[in-house]
Amino acid sequence: MGELDYVGKRIPRKDGPDKVTGRAVYTVDLQLKNMLVGRILRSPHAHARIVHIDTERALQVPGVKAIITGQDTLGIKHGFVETPRYPADQYVLAMDTVRFVGEEVAAVAATNLYAADEALRLIEVTYEPLPAVFDPEAAMLPGAPEIHSTHPKVKENLVNIGGKTTSQWGDVEAGFEEADHVREDRFESHLRTHGYLEPQVTVASYEQDGKLNVWTSSQGPFLKRAKLAKTLGLPFSSVRVQKAYVGGAFGGKIDLFSHEFCAAALSMKTARPVKITTTREEIFSAYRHGQPLIVTLRTGVKKDGTLVAQQIKTINNAGAYRSSGVVVIFLAWGFAMIPYRIPNLKYEGYSVYTNNSPRTPQRGHGAPQIRFAVESQLDMIAEDLGLDPIDIRMKNARNSGETLPNGDNVHNCGLKDCIRAIVEHTQFKTKFGRQPSGKEGRYRKGIGIGVSSYFGGSLIYPNSSSVSVKMNDDGSATLLTGALDIGQGAETIHSQIVAEELKIPMEEIQVVAADTETTPVDIGSWISGNAYVCGNATRVAAMDVRQQLFELAARELEANIEDLEVKDKAVYVKGSPSESLSYRELVALSILKRRGDPVIGNGHWRTMRDTPTHPSLATTKGRWSENYAFDAQTAEVEVDTETGKVRLLKAVTAHDCGFPINPMLVEGQIDGQVSMALGHAFMEEVMMERGRTLNPNWLDYRMPTIRSIAESEHLDVITEQYRIGEPYRTKEVGEGYVSAILAAIANAIYDAVGVRLFETPFTPEKILRGLGKIK
């Protein structure tokens, strides 16, 4: 049915006018009447027993209204993962032990920041320092300081193991026997942070009627509500988390944070609103960063490049609590197994406690680390065997309809088309290889490729999305969605879907979003499923409205529903333009004839609807996603052989995101990811020494600026379609494109100067060492 007027179009953001005029209100902008300011006291020790906390002097500071410590809480633990196997392991405020520098020990609410800071100085904490360990491989060895007991199911002579993922299929030993060539390499990635511009910030207001209102810079209000309610001992009905604009998140604002709990608890204690805004130094020093992985990769291939066996071991430096450490070792397996057929595989991933700040998902969540390893090694194997890097990828790349080892199907898989498109577009084969042109002299150019795949939504709380579309008397519509727009454009694309299904102009669709009290539940803006899961729920809700309008119109116009169509906010009988009823007329008719019903449509969507829950993090068994996006990326670099500096001249992304609901937003996602990967490759590193951050600011932690802009080109490989009135299977675009490009850069550097890099970041020192110019 019908041509598309809204979906697939470059429609400007719904929230754009608010954002370009400064009217958009972020959590950091909220000022409630009579509001107090909160601050958090943090541990200066990486590992210590808390002997005593004395808050008496601090409470005397004029303006200080309340101080809480762990003893004032219910002592309920929380965790990024809370399952029977991996129960919560972190307190909202330390009880008797601190396990990382920056761990939250107490919180103060005061009438002004100066008083709050003065109180922090006057809280006396007596610590008994304990031995600490920071390197994950050292932390695993018997005799290392124990941060938490090794997980009871990991029956190995190792300590500090928070969790382990194992997976295998085929017969990996037989596979290696069969191989003509085997390589084993070790790859390491480094610590980076999200770099969201809006700091972590929460406003909590406990009302007289027992309702806790919360605004917090997050990636979805429903998970925050669940965790706040749990740790505060409140029913969900007493906690309302409401929308404010979010100034970036990138995985760093998903989980419950201590400051959110503290703002709420302090508001409950003082009966006044409390706001806690973190400083940038606090974020760098005490908040959660991404997850470096150590990857040992052993791969066996036939002479012709066919992969026959792969053995992968990953070690994750999880920090002081389990957090998402046991998720990233699962995901690293997943991102290793999607793009290529590997008949025999054995995977072991260890998540290791150390006395660093706990870790959290960061855009790509394991994919950049594992794809860097796999794609770098594949180029090495190709060279060992005298094969072309494109041919070896095409030989092993999955085809449409293939079933993955976990039982998922890749459906329409555009991977090979992505590789073909990018090779042609970049003229890869003429540029790649040690040809004299551009390879002599001080500046040398190279090109490299990588591929990746990313899942689109899985079953993690809140699992699903529900949406309502309300018709207004004048024929305009209101969309009620729990989805939180964190910059990706959620409100815009869901409005486009309503506009398309009902043919109502974008400007006549109002969005009420991300409020646990007034909007239905939403899967959240972190599991790469928003466009697919919430989008389909939105589509179903809009279809429900359309069906109701059709039924009303069919009766009134004495027509069959099949003969009706919508356009210009009206229902028409196909082929006879004079027979029509406007939405305004139909809503009035509905109210008249359906006992006041103003036409409200509801829609729900859950991915893998016959699957009870998420796959096992420990065994990888169970379905993971019904939706896999694929991409190939190339990097063209220029290496200065005198200084070792590398410039990314051009990045090309050929991507199968199904179809773009809004091409402008998709391009924005790709460009942002290319830029983030550029920072990953060359610039960004959180430097830590014994758990302390040495560069807790943006002068010393360098993120890309407009000066480091990379030319970024996009090639769409369309594998799915949007058809009005039918389910669609668009794929994710929010985090899958930070990975292959990283490997492509490493491979391009090798192509340019013959230096193979096994560790990120790709610093001038490493290049010069590789060139033999420094030791």
Binding site: P12, T21, G22, N112, Y114, L197, S675, T705, S712
Partner: protein, 163 residues
């Protein structure tokens, strides 16, 4: 403690309006704009002059409001993001940021738009290098800057076409 600091009277001109204030000597222009005047369109990303989010125009020149003491702004004309769209009519730069996808999360946007406004006033036909020079002190984590570059160049082009 802060509450005991002596305050000084300050007459501040923001977006053409005069505000009479009593401020402490250590208060920054950013604190006064956001906390006292409620002009929260100007953002604080770091508070230490590293991200550019707090950029406003002081006598037409872009400055970092987080590093500027409010008392030093006496007798100067301050322009913030709230002052651009007169009567709700967006400026060409604001329009171009919308049309070209220069906005994602929007937190850096007010600073970017203010710096771009100053650039186009000074140089109506900037090239890419000019844009880089004007915006290199502004961090954006969402866009990779490509569409911000496109937005500014589009604004310049549209302005010159409209004459």
């Amino acid at each position: 403690m802060g509450t005991t600091h002596r305050k000084q009277l300050l007459s501040l001109s923001v977006n053409g309006e005069i505000y009479e204030l009593a401020v402490e000597c250590q208060e920054t222009l950013l604190e006064v704009l956001r906390d006292r005047l409620g002009l929260t369109g100007t953002k604080e990303g770091c508070g230490t002059g590293e991200c550019g989010s707090c950029t406003v125009l002081l006598d037409g020149e872009p400055i970092l409001a987080c590093l500027m003491l409010a008392l030093d702004c006496e007798n100067k004309e301050i322009e913030t993001i709230e002052g651009l769209a007169r009567g709700g009519r967006l400026t060409q730069i604001q329009e171009s940021f919308l049309d070209k996808g220069g906005v994602q999360c929007g937190f850096c946007t007010p600073g970017m738009v203010m710096a771009s406004t100053a650039l186009l006033k000074r140089n109506p036909n900037p090239n890419r290098e000019d844009v880089m020079e004007s915006l290199e002190g502004h961090l954006c984590r969402c866009t990779g800057y490509n569409k911000i570059m496109e937005s500014v160049l589009d604004a310049a082009k549209s302005c010159s076409e409209k004459g």
